[in-house]
Amino acid sequence: MILDVLDGGLLTTVQDAGRPGWTHLGVPVSGAADPWSRAVANLLAGNDEGEAALEMTLIGPRLRARTGGLIGLAGADLGGRVVGGRRLGVGRSHWVAAGDEIAFEGAGAGRRPGRGARCYLAVAGGIDVPVVLGSRSTCLAGGFGGLDGRAIRPGDQIAKTDAPDRGGPAEAELVWPAVNPNGTGRDDGPVALRVLPSPDDGADALADGSWRVAAAADRVGVRLEGRALPAELGGETLTHGVPWGAIQVPPDGRPIILSADHQTTGGYRVAAVVISADLPLVGQLRPGDEVRFVVTDLAEADRAVRARHEALAAGAAALREAAGWDDLVASAGG
């Protein structure tokens, strides 16, 4: 299928499973900020879960289908609809006909307004942009990957790859059958993020009370506000490599949760690290959200990542059955 971009939305980028092989040269890993939803969108479109998909942020694009095809949608409900026609719900696949114009007007237009920041649109067969350093993900800092290293804009064309798609069930809508055992971040109340203590101190102080997501929340990191950690828990340290989910504490005591585009090294103290299974929740945080941290241990972190993998595999198995996609599998590491 081919989609013409009429309006790019707030920040819509091509993202896949990321570019982990070049961090020693300062290249951020990138990839979807909510990898669970990227995986679900892909599986709904009959793709490998790590394929390239469109990541939309708060307000999505307007796209016109030049040719028809199957899409999968997952993540925050950004009010997707066929203009003048039906709604395009998340956690579902949809058949888009040639000539259809589809729009994502924003979280306020969704069925459950107000929660979640990012929605993923997967195209059956994947999105055809060049593979750069092993990935199709957009690296905004380096200006490469995706569509010329930038967000999509009017005049761009989103085309499926040459790979044959599964020719999914035309007119049929598949529904994602599995629940993320680690939550979606779109329920009411504060978003609870499980964290592991870091070699620096600060996890307990971080978990003692709640935080508010500041306006500075993007693919690089999520700033928290509402209070500050004591000075001795923050400040500069000898620069070292930092993982996705590390919670840095600058001298002002206001923590930053590192997200998918984070710098490979950092020079601030790290109070704690969000467990891998809860990183999708970080990708769905939006300014104003209330966040609290729960200190956990490696055993629970490992159980949670395994549970996530099993839920993806179960969902893939159910779709395989429903759509007759014999070889659809959720690969490890999703």
Binding site: G142, L238, G241, Q263, V273, S276, A301, V305
Partner: protein
């Protein structure tokens, strides 16, 4: 202090070799990262290690590789990697080797708006700053911050200057800069707080190249005045 291997989140280990920037520790961190990188190329679940001043971050996929197995790989790499202390006196020699990367620089003016401020801070004339900066031989300690951004050790002590009090919103690509005891070249236009003393047209990072980054860990570097 003793070397330390500690979990850093559930999908990485942080190897800490010391608490201060010390070239022998940086050399050792690099050697451990290289040994691990060689192991990782043939080991499912072991990610690309990131060396820094006195540490190595070792990412791994806990679904594929046991944490204890990952620790085992790190221990073996630490045993096989040469001790950095032995490499201590090598800086000048390796940097003057023919393999040193030469980067032409236009110093001062619009290309280096902080040259005068650096000179003022150091109690030198701007031309002295240029002479010292271009006369030194540098070594890529490690990369981070942005694609192709190399932290260069070997800055003459007389040029040591703290970061600017307020960072610039946009530093032009190719800006040659100084902060603390290090020098660097900004590969892309981005926000930054280092003191800009010049600019180069050399492309530091190009993802289309076989070796995307001009500078890789351990490489020797010289700056050559272009006017």
């Amino acid at each position: 202090m003793a070397d330390e291997i500690a979990p850093f989140g559930d999908s990485a280990l942080l190897v800490t070799l010391g608490r201060a920037a010390d070239r022998s520790l940086t050399v050792r961190a690099r050697a451990i990262a290289e040994a691990l990188g060689a192991a990782g190329a043939s080991t499912a679940g072991l990610g690309r290690p990131i060396p820094a001043h006195a540490s190595v971050l070792v990412p791994f996929d806990p679904l594929v590789l046991d944490r204890e197995a990952a620790v085992g790989f790190v221990r073996r790499a630490m045993e096989t990697a040469p001790d950095g202390a032995g490499a201590e006196p090598d800086l000048a020699r390796t940097a003057s080797a023919p393999s040193a990367v030469e980067i032409p620089v236009r110093y001062g003016g619009d290309d280096g708006p902080d040259l005068d401020a650096v000179a003022g801070h150091c109690g030198l004339r701007p031309e002295d700053v240029i002479e010292l900066h271009a006369g030194a031989r540098y070594e890529v300690l490690f990369l981070g911050f942005a694609p192709g951004f190399a932290y260069l050790g070997g800055l003459p002590v007389a040029l040591s200057t703290p970061r600017r009090a307020s960072p610039r919103e946009r530093v032009p690509a190719g800006s040659v800069a100084i902060a603390g005891e290090q020098s660097a070249v900004y590969p892309q236009a981005m926000p930054g707080g280092w003191n800009l003393i010049g600019r180069t047209d050399t492309v530091l990072f190009d993802p289309a190249r076989t070796e995307p980054s001009l500078l890789s860990p351990g490489a020797a570097v010289r700056f050559v005045p272009a006017r």
